[in-house]
Amino acid sequence: MTQSLAAFARSTWLQYVALFQWATPLGYFAYKVVLPVTQIVFFVQLGVFATGPGNALYFALGNSLQLTANSGIFGVIATVSNERQYGTLPLLLGSPANRLLTFMSRSFVNVLDGIVSVVFGLVVTAILYGLDLRTANLPLLGLCIVVISITTAGLGLLFGSLGLVMRDSIIVANVVYYGLLILCGINFPVSRLPDALQVVAYSLPLTRGVMAAREAVAGAAFGQVAGLLAGELLVGAVYAGLGYALFRLLEGWARRGGLQEAY
């Protein structure tokens, strides 16, 4: 048991380094420090300019939480779809490895990475914009961060599978990333969206989780946001499930003679 756990930990880590483009110290720094700070500052300035200085914290908090999509979307999509670029997919498909475990494990380190990103974003927000967490429900906020890191990775798994057949998965990743930025209550409440887009927003990860996290920062108790978090997890699970189903579909298709380029 401990042995297979160790093997699992090792291979997840190796997959992450092998398949995720930014896994070099400099790349990681640019990606995990420069980009988040830039994004937070940019949206806060824009928001303050548009709505007044009183809302700075709203924007800063939203963008910090959305940083999870850095790992959950970009990271997971790269980790799954780069297999195509390396030509290693046939090796995976020709091995007796458990498909579900292998597939899901591609998101594992990215989830941890997402948690780290958000914590970093919150620290930046505290320093630059005076985020005060003394009245916050910290354990609950922690839970929210874990949950959104998992659920964004679930969405990433779906688009990662797609990336196995599409050449430009990084463009898709960008679209998804900015889609989340606009739709999930990061820079303005979902209630300001047109009705149709609200439906979309609630079928995406992050939306409920970010709401719950904002409540947690305001000091809410677990019971007040349990529904939101459950919904958030469900949404994430649905996407991860769809991603796995698509992966198996592609495996079958490849066996019938498709997916030629990935081979």
Binding site: A7, S11, T88, G94, S95, A254
Partner: protein
């Protein structure tokens, strides 16, 4: 350890067909059927080193992919160690190794060592076993000392050897090698051939494809020639050579040669074919014939006034037989 059903042949293929269906065009999509395997039969004994030869597009890779469970056949059956490659994928996958030629299929950002560890985990090889085996393989394949360098810095030959190490991680009973020496320098290719022969001598069944006839001649116990999805000849390398008759080869170089001259050569009783190939500064004329010595004595008379040089006569090689077979069956 799951037990195998009884089997006589390590690999057994019966009337195997593969038709690829692809669509063409963006707007008016039409289906195109491409028959890659038109019904092949193979029976390969345990411990045999078997070579599948054939021109580009003949169906070699397709055969390997079907046998390694990566591709479903359209019809027919294929068994590896008694397990059906369509339905018993798990049993097949655990017991085979496969290597496709070329540089793809490795994680370039990881070290050679980490690549092997990763794949060992995929095959769920217990850590103590994999640690020892990786060490041995690195040693045998001449990668020891460089195993902690990233693969992106490896030469092509090193990548190829790493591929082979990966294919051997699970100590497979049957090893599939699709053009294993492609792109290697002559010395590297020879070393690899020696290694492959050694594996077969230690009891592994090896199924290899290649374009190099001398390679097949040098190491294979048995070969089959595939052309347009059909097996056109099968047997030991020497029996294949005999298939095309008791032929010898006469070769010489000229600067130019006319069509009449070629026809005159072809007109000789014992000559079965005349092939002219361009080589750097000269044309090389290759004559397949029953009695090379006699053709040699006639050359002067037939090619009156033509300056020919470097005349040589030799026994037919597997390549000669192959060229004849591939030409014939068209």
């Amino acid at each position: 350890m799951p037990s195998d059903p009884p089997f006589r042949h390590a690999i057994e293929v019966a009337d195997l067909r593969k038709v690829y269906t692809t669509t063409r065009g963006t707007f008016r999509r039409t289906k195109v059927e491409n028959v890659a395997l038109a019904g092949i039969d193979l029976a390969i004994a345990p411990g045999e080193l078997f070579g599948l030869l054939g021109p580009n597009g003949a169906g070699k890779t397709t055969t390997v992919k079907v046998l390694t469970t990566l591709l479903l056949p359209t019809s027919g059956t294929a068994r590896v160690l008694g397990h059906d490659v369509v339905s018993a994928t798990g049993d097949v996958r655990r017991r085979i190794g496969f290597v496709f030629g070329g540089e793809r299929g490795l994680y370039w950002r990881l070290s050679g060592y980490d690549n092997l560890r990763y794949f060992a985990d995929l095959y769920r090889i217990p850590p103590q076993v994999s640690k020892r085996r990786i060490g041995e393989l690195l040693e045998v394949l001449g990668l020891a000392g460089r195993e902690h360098d990233k693969v992106e810095g490896y030469s092509r030959g090193m990548k190829q050897r790493l591929h082979l190490a990966r294919g051997l991680l699970n100590d497979p009973d049957v090893l599939f090698l699709d053009e294993p020496t492609i792109g290697l320098d002559p010395v590297g290719a020879r070393d690899l051939r020696v290694l492959i022969r050694g594996l077969a001598d230690h009891g592994k069944t090896i199924f290899l494809t290649t374009h190099y006839m001398f390679e097949a001649d040098a190491i294979c116990d048995r070969v089959a020639v595939i052309k347009k999805g059909r097996i056109v000849a099968e047997g030991t390398p020497s029996s294949i050579k005999q298939l095309v008759g008791d032929i010898g080869v006469v070769e010489f170089e000229v600067d130019t040669i006319s069509q009449e001259d070629i026809e005159r050569l072809q007109g000789l009783d014992t000559v079965s074919s005349v092939v002219v190939t361009e080589r750097e500064l000269a044309l090389v004329v290759t004559i397949h014939c029953a009695q090379p010595a006699e053709v040699m004595t006639q050359l002067g008379r037939l090619l009156d006034g033509i300056a020919f040089r470097r005349v040589s006569a030799r026994e037919a090689t597997l390549e000669d037989a192959y060229v004849e077979l591939i030409g014939e069956a068209s």
